[in-house]
Subunit: 165 residues, 2 copies
């Protein structure tokens, strides 16, 4: 690992950790796709990451404190990857990036619907989703709200678009 940093600028330091074509996609799949195992991240992603790259990025994200890994009690070989608070707080970065991509790049309808809802919901919706992530990844208890969760709503919207086509 190269521990020397080019500068102490927060944007630069962030890019030294996350500035590649895969790291944030892994975070995205953990957040929005609820992928928690190696195989899930490997095979259930749209983009088809290769296993060596995935292993390398997971190691980096572990080292940086963005995710954790624990053994799965139901399967001796499986590991469960979870987001840390530091990882969960990447949601606003992803949300802004999704909003920008939605506005300016050739986004497909079914994969754009989450970005649209997230953008329309704004920081308030992001905070609610982050609370859900804290519950699912950090095991924190949360006041039960009425109706479906943000994650469920995003997923339902996605499936609705897929089924309509």
């Amino acid at each position: 690992m190269t521990d020397i940093s080019r500068s102490g600028c927060p944007i630069n330091l962030s890019l030294e950790v996350l500035g590649d074509k895969w790291s944030l996609l892994i975070i995205r799949d953990m957040m929005f796709g609820n992928r928690r195992h190696f195989r899930e991240l490997l095979t259930k992603s749209e983009e088809g990451i290769s296993s060596n790259i995935l292993a390398d990025r997971l190691k980096t994200l572990l080292d940086e404190g963005i995710i954790t890994r624990e053994d799965d009690p139901t399967h001796k070989q499986k590991g469960i990857y979870s987001l840390t608070e530091q990882g969960i707080e990447l949601l606003p970065v992803l949300a802004q990036m999704a909003a920008w991509g939605y506005r300016y790049l050739p986004v497909s309808e079914e994969l754009g619907i989450r970005a649209r809802l997230l953008s329309e919901g704004g920081p308030k919706l992001w905070a609610e989703f982050m609370d859900e992530l804290r519950e699912n990844h950090l095991g924190l208890k949360r006041r039960k709200r009425a109706g479906p969760s943000v994650g469920e709503r995003l997923q339902a919207a996605y499936e609705s678009v897929v089924n309509r086509k």
Copy 2:
């Protein structure tokens, strides 16, 4: 150029354009450091990009419509790079990334002050700064406000920290 995209996901598409260690730093320098010429971007950055990488990234950013290039009337060899509206709207992405880095990475005091002010100012301050960028890069007229601009305030805060040390 590889025009094939891995998926139509807005986050993925954004990363295919900006997912490397330099592109967003160039945008950052254009926004916050007001670097507009090749040499300025090359020599006045903290991180020391090399000229071939800079040339390559500028070409990509041009192709993607994130920046434009025009001849400098005062110097036959100089080109002036400007942000487009699409480029200016990357500010919230940078702001969120800066806020995250400021919170979790070993940011230096002088280079972190801008991130702190930007984070404290929130979306309202970002919008004001984006209006200033539109004035400087797109030539749009803007209602004159009282007092120093956001860019000036950020710069003053940075210099204040530098001088104090």
